[in-house]
């Protein structure tokens, strides 16, 4: 295991644990952005430049900011007296530990997990663009339609209550 990977992995896991355990939700969102940045650097290390930069643009840039906005709009950052974990937290933790144990056992036992990469793989933006415009043009269009529908739907869901209260007045 190389040293850069170990550093990034430890940082990513620590940020993920912080995102799931901290009390203040704004701190959780910032730790989540750090997790996404760590994953992006692992993508870059694996030779997937385009995905790494798309990860930074979409997750660190858009999703993390969207979550911060949702936290502010719902006033979740204000301190509460209640515990942050639900009453059945022990069962949830147990399920997660069992899932990790099963996955880790399978990975360690598998013969495929020790293999080395066959050659230096490079996915240039030109290759990805060619693939998107030839073999994968139908999924690309479906994603475009899905994003349009999801954004319109999100706006309608978020504004619905306001319209109803105006009508009732």
């Amino acid at each position: 295991m190389s040293l850069p990977f170990a550093i990034i992995a430890v940082l990513t896991i620590a940020a993920a644990v912080a995102a799931m355990t901290l009390r203040n939700l704004v701190h959780c969102a910032l730790a989540l952005a750090l997790t996404f940045a760590g994953l992006a650097s692992i993508y870059l290390q694996l030779g997937a430049q385009f995905v790494g930069f798309a990860q930074i643009l979409v997750y660190v840039g858009a999703v993390a900011i969207l979550i911060v906005f949702a936290i502010m709009l719902t006033r979740s950052s204000e301190p509460t007296e209640q515990p942050v974990f639900s009453a059945s937290w022990l069962w949830g933790l147990l399920v997660a530990v069992i899932v990790f144990g099963t996955l880790a056992w399978t990975i360690v036992k598998s013969t495929a997990s020790q293999r080395e990469p066959v050659q230096v793989a490079e996915a240039t933006v030109k290759q990805i663009g060619d693939a998107l415009m030839t073999g994968f043009v139908l999924p690309l269009e479906v994603i475009a339609l899905l994003l349009t529908a999801a954004l319109i739907g999100a706006v309608i869901i978020a504004m619905r209550d306001e319209v109803e209260t105006k009508k009732s007045k």
């Binding site: 799931m20 959780c28 997937a48 995905v51 399920v95 020790q114 899905l146 978020a158």
Partner: protein, 103 residues
């Protein structure tokens, strides 16, 4: 060079952390963050298998992750809109208090 198992173990760890958070936190936004973490762990698996696979020039793993990021962005937008709608209705995002559909 880092072996494939290291990336897979990191991905499994992130998935377990996300699952634990989604199952144990009270706040709906934190549950959504846990789901995002699990999606990202799956994406890391795709990239790792693409890099260590027999035919990296096919770009299948890369393209699947690009589409997956698109779907996850749509999911995050709709999920946060739903949480804001729930907050307007119940005046809380605590999932233990949003229980009017409980039998």
């Amino acid at each position: 060079m880092t072996p494939l198992s290291a990336y897979l173990l990191l991905s499994a760890m992130l998935f377990a952390i996300g699952l634990a958070g989604a199952l144990t936190r009270r706040n709906a936004i934190l549950v959504l963050i846990g789901i995002e973490l699990m999606l990202n762990a799956a994406n890391l698996n795709f990239i790792a298998f693409w890099r260590f696979g027999e035919h990296p020039e096919a770009l299948t793993g890369i393209l699947f992750v690009i589409f997956s990021i698109g779907v996850a962005a749509a999911e995050a937008a709709v999920g946060l809109a739903l949480i804001i709608a729930i907050y307007r209705h119940y005046k809380t995002t605590n999932l233990d208090q949003v229980d009017s559909m409980k039998g």
